[in-house]
Amino acid sequence: MGNKSGPTGSAKKKGPGISKLLKPYKGMIFLLIFFALVSNGINLVLPKIIAGGIDAFPSHYVLRPLLIKFLSAAIIIFIFTFFQSIIQTNTSERVARDLRTQLAARISTQSYAYIEKANPSKLLTNLTADVDSVKMFISQAIVTIASSLIIIIGACIMLFSINWKLAAAIVVIVPIIGGVFFFVSKKVRPIFLRGREVIDRLNKVINESILGAALIRVINSQQPEYEKFLIANTEAKNLGLSILRLFAWLIPIIVFTASLAGITILALGGHFVILNSMTLGDFAAFNSYLSLLIFPIILIGFMSNVIAQSTASYQRLSTVLELPELKETGTIVDPLQGNIALQNVSVLYGQKPVLKNINFNVESGSATAIIGPTAAGKTQLLYLLTGLIKQNEGSVDFDGRNIDDYNKENFYSHVAFVLQDSIIFNMSIRENIAFSDLVTDESLAKAIATAELKEFIDSLPEGLNTILSERGTNLSGGQKQRIMLARALAVNPKILLLDDFTARVDSNTEIKILNNVRKYYPGITLISVTQKIASVEKFDKVIVLMEGEIVATGKHNELMKTSPEYVQIYNSQQSTNELQPQ
């Protein structure tokens, strides 16, 4: 599916976007329509059989062939309807599944910046409710429309074949009804779009009140949360009611028009029968075909609701499906040694500069600390080194080559990152730690020992197979941080980036872990964002970051002499520094 016509064109028509989606399933859909046509086509013949029976009634030998014809028609209808429903279900579910896979694939290749800005709640609605609407189009609308059209056309043909004058008077109802559908559908589409946006908002409110459950209970703010929900919910209700107001006209108009048609048959047809230009049997058949005609028209009326909703949904999905696929451009597979160089790097978050003119070098095997006040940009710097964000200016080089030139798998087998906020998956501890594909049993065991997790895991009845709950709610803050560290170490990295790692562990454990890292991962290049000067006195280099700029670099002793900012930080920790474990 190379070039695209874009969703802008589809706004004018009723669903060409969806027909593009269905092309791969052509075969199944034709089969589906075929089954529907046969079963409905035979349905058309039934009134003819009845008419034949009535007209020929004087001779009752007609009974047996009549019975056979009718019965066989009924059985064929049964079989075909049955198969039709199976194919219908299969096709619609398959389209839904494939659509979801495509969406997920597209989302999975996006940058972190996109995901963060794209509102995960909207993506959730896309993957669930919007796909469902498209599915309903297939499972309900296609067959209904196809078979209804056939019945309508077939019934019209039958009507014309019996008495063209009467038929002409009746058939005019079809375009009238068509016009009404078109009008209503056009008006209702924007409302459906807004309806889905409100669902996005509902998702977001619910999600926040789940994630913030502890806070809400500690502040007793259940009422304000409810009010937030109420606003979104009320809007959803009002949109639902306005859609209802439009659609409530549809069926009455159809039925009314149909009634008028029936009355026309009575008056005009009755006139013809009185004038002997039409038989009673034909008259009865006319009535039968009319009732046959009405039911599918009403069905299409119900379907217009589904069609409108699914077209709106597909429009939303198109924006995700048409996202650019970020291609892997890096090719270098040489192992990284750990020499890092940043030159004139600047990073903007929106309009705001978070890093300005950053220049520094890190040597392989060295330990570098980054220290600075809150919101200095320390985390953003680490994000840069780990490829989560891109610089707006300047270059980030590893071993003299641009970070983007490295093959991703190669890069991440050498660079590991421990984030500040704990991210735990709802899987076993083993799967959480061995998250990267490259983890072996030995590297796993080594990582667990280094992160001082062995006793904790051994104390659990199911050990490594213990399932951790979503967001790690059954773990303490320090346990989560240690699991994150183990996860990073398990890839046996050459470069380890720690973001304020020791904030959540006690000093005793901290010393043990740092010693473990030096022992089990010799030659590792360490970059650690930290607040504690005592931990970094022995580091090879300390970088002082303030408001996105480097204000000083050097070893501890140099900085104590040259950097007033550094001294200020040191003094604020002074009284307890000598008590800190070395």
Binding site: I50, A104, A214, Y226, I569, T576
Partner: protein
């Protein structure tokens, strides 16, 4: 208490179906007038629909056969009037019932969301966010679909069928019974298969919840997915949930479509019976053509709706499956009720733990026989190795959980006897992981604080100055108006902790608990925070949990928490010693 929604016992399952129907009935109680109007409209509509073929048949027999055109025109006029009335009643029917459905959906969603707010933190620890979202948005909508679209068709259909059935029996009893016989077969078939259909739908809805949960978790954890080069993890996990959903939805779809062909077949049988027996009766002179034509119409009027019923019954099963999932939430009760106990002790301590034992649901005991007392106005520190039980102890202080045994006394009274509003005003808790809502800094620091609603910017700045918080606002680029995206990267973790700090201080509680609340804040800014804490009213009791020694340096008393035991550490030096030497148990 077991709050896991996917772990409901069979007994609870049964109780839930009845209770949800009762709740649904309650929800539409105020809609009685609308329902009555809708019912009236439906009956009018069905009545008119039934009368139609009768009049046509009568016209044929009386006027067409006898070549009386004037009679035909008269009856045609009558039918036109009926058509107009039917137009009005049909519109009313849809408007009324649709309105009932939308309002019921609205109330149902509110009810479920409210119930979630009543339940304790333990509930959220045992269930997945995506699954809960799916229940509130998706499953409620299934109930709505039935109520707004299917129910009125349901009633209309039944009404039409009953009417048609009456006519069939009235015109010719024997023929009528024979005609209705296939209907009975349909009834038996439906009864036999409905339970199976509902089960399949329940499984399908559950798999949708699972899919939702998977998406939710992966999107929230995307940073790690990228940083560990596991974009394929997202695709893989999603595929698994997608496949489960595919299988379950297919099974449900097929089961839902089982009614249609069967109903269609028996409907044809009904028509056949009318035709053959009718013709036979006509040939023996006991029936007329006109009657046969209207009889055919009536049997069509009986069986066509019956075919519609097939689709409606399906929607009903889906709605029932959805309402089961809702009722599981609505039936949950909080395990932290406000109890009655007028015992009031005269103790000096603000808050006291007596023989408290605690463990999380399904886990082993974490806190063993904790005893300590916090006096008003003092600063306490809780230190200890990671995983020792500090946050757990703090959670019990704020009544996020109740102890398994033992008591927690606030101002001499069992903490469980306090209304949550009163308790949360007295006890402030800064959580370890700060949570912010999408909005401005101002929105967040005033969150849940009714004292300052409606304050102008100037008034607010005065309040902030008095609380010594002004310097902290400078760390935010737009001060109070800085925009924050919950879960986003617009501000750093340290800044989030600052906001959480300001939020708690502005509430001016009697007891302020800081659970590693400054862990990611630099030490210089932390000094400002220490200052602010020191300037809090003298009577404020402070409990500080921290790993940084200079954070706890000036505490009046230090408690050492390890392996679920809380021991007085005496002096600061002694505490440091314990930290260095005591073995970490987790």
């Amino acid at each position: 208490m077991n709050y896991n929604l996917n772990d409901i016992s069979a007994h609870q399952q049964k109780a839930s179906t009845l209770s949800i129907l009762r709740k649904l009935m309650l929800l539409i109680k105020d809609e009685r007038r609308n329902l009555l109007l809708a019912l009236l409209a439906i009956l009018t509509n069905s009545g008119l629909n039934l009368l139609n073929p009768f009049i046509i048949g009568y016209t044929i027999d009386k006027y067409v056969v006898h070549k009386n055109y004037h009679g035909v025109l008269m009856n045609a006029g009558l039918l036109v009037c009926m058509a107009f009335i039917a137009f009005g009643s049909s519109y009313m029917q849809t408007r009324m019932m649709g309105g009932v459905g939308q309002r019921m959906l609205f109330k149902l969603r509110n009810a479920v969301f409210n119930k979630l707010q009543e339940l304790p933190v333990a509930f959220f620890n045992q269930n997945k966010a995506g699954d809960l979202i799916s229940r509130i948005n998706n499953d409620t909508d299934k109930i709505n679909l039935f109520f707004s679209q299917s129910l009125m068709q349901f009633i209309g259909t039944i009404a039409t069928m009953i009417g048609a059935g009456i006519f069939l029996l009235a015109i010719n009893f024997r023929l009528g019974v024979a005609t209705l016989f296939p209907g009975i077969m349909i009834f038996i078939f439906t009864k036999a298969t409905s339970k199976w259909v509902k089960r399949k739908n329940a499984a399908s809805l559950k798999s949708t919840g699972g899919l939702s949960a998977e998406i939710q978790e992966s999107l929230n954890n995307f940073k790690v997915i990228i940083a560990f080069n596991r974009r394929d993890y997202f695709r893989k996990r999603f595929e698994e949930a997608n496949e489960i959903n595919y299988v379950a939805a297919k099974a449900a779809g097929i089961s839902n479509n089982v009614f249609m062909p069967v109903y269609g077949f028996f409907a044809s049988m009904g028509q056949l019976i009318v035709l053959t027996i009718g013709i036979y009766l006509i040939s023996t002179g006991r029936f007329s053509i006109g009657l046969l034509v209207s009889y055919l119409s009536y049997s069509t009027n009986f069986y066509n709706p019956l075919r519609q019923l097939a689709a409606l019954w399906t929607n009903f099963q889906v709605a029932m499956a959805g309402s089961d999932r809702i009722s599981h939430i609505l039936n949950m009760e909080t395990n932290l009720p406000v109890t009655e106990d007028n015992r009031q002790e005269k103790i000096a301590a603000l808050l006291e733990f007596r023989n408290v034992h605690f463990g999380y649901e399904g886990g082993k005991e974490i806190l063993h026989n904790i005893n300590f007392a916090l006096e008003q106005g003092k600063t306490y520190a809780l230190v200890g190795p990671t995983g020792g039980g500090k946050t757990t102890t703090a959670s019990l202080l704020a009544r996020l959980y109740d102890p398994l045994s033992g008591e927690v006394l606030l101002n001499g009274r069992d903490i469980r006897t306090y209304e949550s509003g009163e308790r949360t005003k007295k006890i402030g808790f800064i959580l370890q992981e700060p949570f912010l809502f999408t909005g401005t800094v101002r929105d967040n620091i005033l969150y849940g604080n009714e004292k300052f609603t409606g304050f102008s910017k100037a008034q607010l700045e005065e309040v902030i100055k008095n609380a010594n918080l002004k310097s902290l606002l400078l760390i935010f680029e737009n001060g109070l108006d800085t925009l924050i995206n919950s879960g986003g990267e617009s501000i750093s973790l340290g800044q989030k902790q600052l906001i959480a700090f300001m939020r708690a201080v502005l509430r001016n509680p009697d007891l302020l608990i800081l659970d590693e609340a400054t862990a990611n804040i630099d030490t210089i800014t932390e000094k400002i925070l220490q200052d602010i804490l020191n300037k809090l009213p003298k009577e404020t009791t402070r409990v500080i949990i921290a790993h940084r020694l200079n954070t706890i340096k000036n505490a009046d008393e230090i408690y050492f928490v390890n392996a679920g035991e809380v021991i007085r550490a005496g002096s600061f030096d002694h505490a440091v010693n314990m930290l260095l030497q005591e073995k970490r148990a987790s």
